[in-house]
Amino acid sequence: MSEAVSKLYKALRRILAEPMGAFGVALVVLMVFGAVFADILATAEPSDISPRDRFQGPSITHLLGTDHLGRDLFSRVLHGGRIALSVALFSIAASLVIGVVLGLIAGYGPRWLDNLMILVFDALKSFPTVMLALALVTLFGPSLTAVVVVVILVNVPGYARIIRTQTLALKSAQFVSAAQSMGAGTTRILRAHILPNVIGPLLILASMDIPVVIAIEAGMSFLGLGVRPPTPSWGAILNDGFAAIRDTPWIAVAGGLPIIVTTLGFTFLGETLRDVFDPRLKVR
């Protein structure tokens, strides 16, 4: 256990040694801190409407001002961060699980199954994200579920393909033949011998997808296809702000700034992770 801790510590040191990595970590920590402690940090209930306080500028009581219903924007941004982060983490985790399983099956299974699965992945991938989102919303109605399903459908084919390619390459590796010769079954070979060797690069890529998911969630909520009011979401705040951008620009800023900050933070962090741990993926 202590070895794992020291490994983690070493990794963190290497990330912090890169200026871009340190900046990324700082932004991400800020964002996660805000999301986790939203209840304590929030100065008001995020959904409490107070018509008297509509369209107030930033002040001591309302750090980021209020919106057209008089809701405290600072609190809404914090709680919106919670939504954004949990949607991102949950849907990426689900995409990872599904993608890895499908990729292993495609890579290790018979040739015809592989061909069939590749066909399905390619078909899914050729679908524009927006179309997919619209189609799903007509099915489920605007909701968080729709957002999550869209993200999974968008990510799984890519993840599965990465795992499949590497599994194919490892299928004939000597250590896999050795396991077969000892009598190991397919599940054991996939779990103990192939998975640990293929998952690393995918985890790095997935971490770089977190900002993309946050943007998708914000985008769908902005269009009214995602989170339903009054639940706070950065996209929804941005939309509210757009309606009144001439008179009260701080609303749009309150919605847009956190999106930019988190996206930037996660992107920097992900790129540093990639450069530090998997230089092969580096684009020159």
Partner: protein
């Protein structure tokens, strides 16, 4: 006999789907291995020795013939029935480090056979016992394969192979990629274990010097066929097949002044897609006669099997090229 293989053929299909061509990787090979015996399969790359090993191990399906291990036909048995037989037969692959799963620790690698066959044992104790048996201290259990030298990785492979007390070990190039000073260690270790555990071994190699020291009997393969099979010592003393003679003479020895009587062969090995007619060695044989081009010779003889129409006898003058250094 612990293992009998009889007329085994392995066919691969190559080419695009509309024009699949069958090629014979292993063409009608037969031999037996007795308990406690060390048998060597010798041949150059592409001679089918590794394919044959995989066929014996059941990793490669065979298109003809039969393989009998401990009285059971393993070429026709199901994967389920094969599993218990795999406890009795261990395979060591060519690459010492590459045959170890890179993200597993040595301790887990050595313990793997116990997990696969669900054998109840004090795994920690067993791993330590096995590691000390191959001359590695207990601290090695926590290392990863990339932290091992070639010789150490090979020892881990040996420890894993003997974990379940097998009757037969198939070792594919056990000394490949190892330094000279370490080759002896690994061969000595295998030999000690063979004596102690009454193991039978099949050693696959192109290193004739190794064969000379470890094998009781040897078979020389060419284009997927056994061209000569017999007692190691007598074959080294008096090779009968011209190919065996050429291989033996091509073995550079660490002695600068030793006069080298070499049989030089044309370097072009025929393709498996276009096997020569008659004796398949006739395209390179220095003693070729007209009959060799049309009639295929078949192995004959009780102690020594030779697939050649005109085998050499010990007194024969070799058509050699004297190289002077």
């Amino acid at each position: 006999m612990i293992l009998s293989i009889n007329n085994v053929e392995v066919t691969f299909r190559v080419g695009p789907w509309f024009n699949r061509q069958p090629i014979l990787g292993v063409a009608g090979v037969s031999f037996d291995v007795a308990p406690g015996e060390t048998f060597a399969l010798v041949g150059e790359s592409g001679s089918g020795k590794t394919t044959l090993a995989n066929a014996i191990n059941g990793l490669q399906s065979i298109s003809n013939g039969d393989v009998t291990f401990l009285g059971e036909r393993i070429d026709t048995t199901s994967q389920r029935n094969m599993k218990p037989l795999r406890q009795q037969m261990a395979m060591m692959f060519q690459d010492p480090v590459g045959s170890l799963s890179p993200r597993m620790r040595v301790g887990d690698l050595v313990a793997e056979p116990f997990h696969i066959h669900k054998i109840k044992a004090n795994i920690k104790e067993e791993t330590e016992r096995l590691l000390s048996l191959v001359g590695l201290s207990g601290d090695f259990a926590n290392r990863y394969p990339h932290q091992l030298s070639g010789g150490q990785a090979r020892r881990v492979g040996v420890a894993r192979a003997i974990a379940l007390n097998p009757k037969l070990i198939i070792a594919d190039e056990p000394t490949a990629g190892l330094d000279v000073s370490v080759q002896g260690e690994v061969l000595n270790l295998l030999n000690d274990l063979r004596e102690r555990m009454d193991l039978a071994m099949i050693i696959i190699t192109h290193n004739l010097h190794v064969v000379h020291h470890v094998a009781d009997r040897m078979a020389v393969m060419y284009l997927g066929r056994i061209v000569e099979l017999g007692e190691t010592e007598s074959m080294f003393r008096a090779p009968a097949h011209p190919y065996t003679a050429a291989l033996l003479s091509a073995n550079p020895e660490p002695d600068p002044d030793k006069a080298k009587e070499r049989i030089s062969l044309p370097a072009e090995v025929p393709s498996l897609l276009a096997r020569p007619s008659g004796c398949e060695f006739h395209t390179r044989c220095p003693w070729v006669q007209s009959r060799c081009k049309s009639d295929q010779p078949f192995a004959n003889g009780e102690v020594r099997n030779i697939a050649c129409h005109y085998p050499l006898s010990p007194g024969d003058k070799l058509p050699v090229k004297q190289s002077s250094i």
